[in-house]
């Protein structure tokens, strides 16, 4: 295996992409139950109110943000042919993603703690 920042970004992109597909299946499982009955929908929604899923929500947020910004990074490189900036852009994506995950994750954590 050839490990570089490019490989790391590729691996993260793949991993978050698969994770988002998994999330979509879960999402359809919950929303799909609303076609059965209000009780079935509430039951599945309650299942997702646990602390574990609150933490996973932060992970979901991180996956969405990284996947989106890494895609934008590739578009910028492809469009403007700025391959020489590839590492700077990757580090920028990581910093932006980290800041946004903190900005979005802290309220989720506070909401989770308030509920206790």
């Amino acid at each position: 295996m050839y490990k570089t920042t490019g490989f790391l970004s590729f691996a993260l992109r793949r991993f978050t992409g698969v994770a988002l597909v998994m999330y979509l299946l879960l999402h359809i499982w919950v929303i799909g139950s609303s076609l059965d009955s209000p009780e079935a929908f509430n039951e599945r929604l309650n299942f997702l109110q646990s602390d574990l899923f609150k933490v996973l929500e932060i992970a979901l947020l991180a996956a969405v943000i990284y996947h989106a910004f890494d895609g934008v990074r590739l578009l910028l490189v492809n469009w403007f042919k700025i391959t020489e900036k590839r590492k700077n852009l990757f580090y920028s994506v990581m910093v932006i993603s980290a800041l946004l995950v903190i900005a979005g994750g802290v309220p989720i954590l506070l909401f989770m703690l308030e509920g206790k």
Binding site: Y2, T4, R86
Partner: protein, 259 residues
């Protein structure tokens, strides 16, 4: 004693594999002394000449131009003939040398490059002329020459090919080395085979298989940029017919200037 002749000690870890004896590759350590001017290839020569004559590796020109001695040093592909040993030593004075990744190992540091050359031939890396070549040379513009220079200095060492994650996962991928050569010929105003070249590379085995991981750029010992070439080929493959027309006109221009 001057600085460049001061002798220091180093440990060279080499991945060994003899298919006739070994079930799987293993690492062997060799102790040697080096000076400031010792290259990694010098170290391999030292080991082969004085410690273990069975050590097998490729090398030829020792001037970073033949591309024979590309190897994986501390996880990075490079030419060992122009890489100083001391620059690649860890704090414990150890350097690890492996064969190029993603390629079948024939013995020790020698890999089987059959697939590499097969993919290279797929893109017809030679110039396809119109058949009415003039006796004088063509006069192409400085901009065109500058564009071609970004690909022309490739020495076919295989560092980019074996660094590419897609090569490791997709057997039929043409590879950055061949796509760079295709880029060279497609942009060459003297070449008249742009259309068939773009049809060959504009597929899921060509430019659309690249995941823009950039390993090829990081690995290239000549500082070339195969990723940028692949991006250019992607754009040209989309507008192939228009590009073909523009190229025909350009060829007529340079052809007329010769006469």
């Amino acid at each position: 004693m001057s600085e460049n002749t001061t002798q220091k000690k180093a440990v060279v870890r080499i991945q060994r594999f003899n298919p006739e004896k070994d079930k799987k590759p293993y690492f062997q350590e060799f102790n040697l002394t080096y000076t400031r001017d010792t290259t990694l290839l010098d170290a391999l020569h030292e080991i082969k000449s004085h410690q273990d004559g069975t050590l097998t590796y490729r090398r030829s020109c020792r001037h970073a131009i033949c591309g024979s001695c590309a190897m994986n040093v501390n996880g990075k592909n490079m030419l060992v003939c122009n890489s100083p040993l001391q620059e690649h030593l860890t704090r414990k004075s150890v350097v690890t040398i492996r064969p190029l990744p993603y390629l079948p190992v024939i013995k020790d540091l020698v890999v089987d490059r059959t697939k590499f050359w097969e993919q290279y031939l797929r893109v017809k890396p030679w110039l396809i002329s119109a058949g009415d070549d003039p006796e004088k040379e063509y006069r192409v513009s400085p901009d065109e020459v500058a564009a071609l220079n970004t690909a022309e200095t490739c020495i076919m060492c295989g560092a980019c090919y074996s660094a590419c994650t897609v090569v490791g996962t997709s057997e039929n991928y043409i590879g950055p080395h061949a796509l760079l050569k295709s880029f060279l010929r497609v942009l060459d105003p003297r070449d008249v085979g742009a259309s068939e070249r773009l049809q060959e590379v504009g597929t899921s085995e060509g430019v659309y298989r690249c995941h823009t991981i950039f390993n090829c750029i990081d690995a290239c010992p000549k500082n070339l940029d195969p990723t940028k070439a692949i991006e250019t080929l992607r754009n040209l493959a989309v507008k192939r017919l228009a590009f073909e027309e523009a190229k025909k006109k350009r060829y007529q221009t340079i052809r007329l200037k010769v006469e």
